[in-house]
């Protein structure tokens, strides 16, 4: 019965999205074909069809999220946790001070929760930079000292970083997986409340078929205009869209690579990733491994779930458009690579659909770009209206005006983008949730500014994405660049060099449109102007604003884990690390308990 409901929901959502797309298709066809239909009209209408279906699909998720609430997870006690858990932090040329203090903060937070649980921490370093590796070594000593972590905190650095993050975690499981029942997988910028980690373990214990439990990480510590808008969106809209996603996916949920817990046995049995035939970007190691691991777990019959009711899960986001584009370049290559495995044997239909969705996320902007280009050229292929269609009829036939239909379509498409966000603001106002975002007025102002800012940035991101897709299709591997986790403010020079080509494209586009089809110039301005002024927008959006909007709950009440982390960073920055004392009996006890496990558990 549950399955039937899920299939009906999925089917209904897909049907509704298709219906919206078809309506847009025929409305547009009506507008452009007023003087007769040609091939260009059909091509433009098809582009509108695909793009609108994609927008409607996103909007539907928001509507489902707004009209549903999280199911209560299976009952679980608050007492003794029998399973052994390891918190894994893979690092790659990250700032060790920031990442190691995050682990220390999480350890303190777990201790404060006063739960009896056997939780270890492992730093899995893939760092290539020797200077950073030296810092890691120094600060690891400090971390062990700070947390009294002998036998609970582990560090290892790989000689070869085969398979990148997935290979790093895989190597850990092959070497030490048998020592643990659960593994919390983090990113170097992840931060989770101790209570959240404990609750995740309890949920795993309560449901033996649960293979992976994903949380929805919220962005913290954003400072710049772009960063704060992303932080607001992640805090305000994302839970609603995530709820919608959770409803649609059932037991075939997502894995976003971090801030999640896996059942070690399930992961080891089902997630050994092969190296794809051929060379990167489509062959070689799987880049966006998380989606694939979620699909493999589901293929093996394990439940994969996102529990959007779990609070206390945080990460940091990019602070400017360039960092966002760099990250997107990596994701783009990873998602397009999924085209190779979408037909993998035995996958659940929903997993295949998720792969297709991931690919579409990077292809969709191209449809809009092609639509704009074809629109500029379209008038050259237009059929001239026939004012005297009937012979010997003296009164000319004037084609009807389609302005109303054209405007309706424009409003409809923009509505698909705006309406779900607006409804989230309305719901937050009605439920009182708005107060933690600065009050009803501020919520609406923030929503409005977020929509405006994302409308300004979307055309620029569209061109960055187009370049990424082009590079991947041309076989250029993006490699594994380190994430930039600095303050994110761009200089004029950086903004200009990163986006001068975009600006040039925008100016050329405007010039060509002015020469060829001045009638549609005004329609192009909302897209062409942000592109032409890309360096200014990049620079402006990377500056620290006055913070009068984009208020999030963390601005008023810092999450306890963030406070703990801040305090530790300050303490570690002030006092230099020192060597641990030579002998410590307690440490010895922990060593025999934790670091050498007497029984070896090979997987079947």
């Amino acid at each position: 019965m549950k399955k039937l409901g899920l299939y009906l929901l999925r089917g209904g959502t897909i049907a509704a999205s298709l219906a919206v797309g078809v309506i847009a298709f025929f409305t547009f066809l009506q507008v452009v074909a007023v003087n007769g239909i040609n091939l260009i009209d059909i091509a433009l209408s098809l582009l509108i069809l695909v793009s609108t279906i994609w927008l409607a699909w996103g909007g539907m998720q928001g509507i489902i999220g707004l009209t549903s609430s999280a199911k209560r997870p299976l009952k679980h006690g608050a007492g003794w946790i029998s399973g052994r858990t390891v918190v894994l932090m893979p690092v790659y040329n990250e700032d060790p001070l920031m990442s190691f203090t995050r682990l220390a903060a999480m350890d303190k937070s777990i201790k404060q929760a006063d739960a009896e649980a056997n939780i270890h921490f492992a730093i899995l370093s893939d760092t290539r930079d020797n200077a950073i590796a030296q810092q890691e070594e120094d600060l690891f000593v400090r971390l062990v000292e700070e947390c009294n972590g002998r036998g609970r905190f582990f560090y290892r650095r790989r000689a070869q970083n085969v398979g990148k993050k997935a290979g790093n975690v895989e190597e850990f499981f092959e070497q030490s997986g048998g020592a643990y029942d659960y593994a919390v997988i983090l990113d170097a910028d992840s931060l989770m409340e101790g209570q959240t980690i404990l609750e995740m373990i309890r949920r795993m214990e309560a449901e033996p078929r649960l293979g992976l439990l994903q949380t929805l990480p919220k962005i913290i510590r954003a400072e710049t205009r772009f960063g704060r808008a992303m932080q607001f969106a992640a805090s305000f809209y994302s839970p609603v869209f995530c709820r919608g996603l959770a409803m649609l996916q059932g037991k075939t949920g997502p894995f976003w690579g971090h801030n999640a817990i896996v059942r070690v046995q399930a992961f080891v049995q089902s997630c050994g990733l092969p190296v794809l035939q051929g060379m990167p970007p489509f062959g070689g190691h799987i880049m966006s491994h998380d989606y694939v691991e979620a699909a493999l777990l589901a293929r093996a019959g394990w439940i994969v779930r996102v529990d959007d009711d779990l609070e206390g899960s945080f990460e940091e986001g990019p602070e400017n458009v360039i960092d966002h584009a760099k990250r997107d370049r990596r994701w783009c290559q990873g998602n397009l690579q999924h085209a190779r495995i979408i037909t993998a044997p035995g996958l659940k239909a929903w997993s295949r659909f998720v792969f297709a969705q991931g690919i579409m996320a990077y292809i969709a902007p191209l449809f809009w770009l092609v639509f704009l280009l074809v629109s500029i050229l379209a008038p050259y292929f237009d059929v001239q209206p026939d004012y005297f269609p009937e012979a010997n009829w003296p009164i000319p036939y004037i084609p009807p005006s389609m302005t109303f239909e054209a405007l309706s379509l424009l409003v409809g498409i923009f509505g698909l983008l705006l309406l779900p966000k607006l409804l989230v603001a309305v719901k937050a106002s009605l439920t009182g949730q708005a107060s933690s975002f600065g009050g009803i007025g501020k919520v609406f102002v923030s929503t409005l500014f977020e929509v405006l800012l994302s409308s300004l940035i979307a055309p620029i991101v569209m061109l960055f994405t187009t370049r990424s897709v082009y590079q991947v299709l041309m076989g250029k591997d993006g490699g594994w660049p380190t994430n930039n986790r600095g303050d994110g403010q761009l200089s004029w020079r950086e903004s200009f060099f990163a986006s001068s080509w975009i600006s040039l494209v925008g100016l050329c586009g405007l010039l060509v449109a002015y020469q060829l089809t001045p009638s549609i110039l005004y329609w192009l301005l909302p897209v062409a102007l942000p592109i032409a002024f890309a360096p200014v927008i990049l620079w402006w959006s990377s500056r620290v604003g006055t913070n009068t909007c984009f208020t999030v709950p963390a601005d008023r009440n810092n999450p306890p884990i963030v406070d703990l982390h801040d305090a530790l960073v300050e303490k570690w920055t002030l006092v230099k690390p020192k060597e641990l004392p030579q002998e410590d009996t307690a440490g010895k006890d922990q060593q025999s308990e934790g670091s050498t496990v007497p029984h070896l558990v090979p997987s079947s």
């Binding site: 050994g272 493999l296 190779r340 037909t343 060597e579 070896l600």
Partner: protein, 52 residues
């Protein structure tokens, strides 16, 4: 204790190996050459049997 003492002692990863079987994600490529050989063989046999 120094870093080396820690990571070769109490802070060395526990040794509890597991075998992580590599999963199949790609269908094996059809051997086109082999297919052509088979087709040619089939055609020859048909021709022989038909007595042309």
């Amino acid at each position: 204790m120094t870093f080396d003492e820690l990571t070769s002692g109490p802070c060395a990863l526990p040794r509890a190996p597991m075998i992580m079987p590599t999963q199949t994600l790609e269908r094996p490529k059809r051997n086109r050459y082999r297919l052509m050989v088979n087709i040619r063989h089939l055609l020859r046999t048909t021709v022989k049997l038909s007595g042309v």
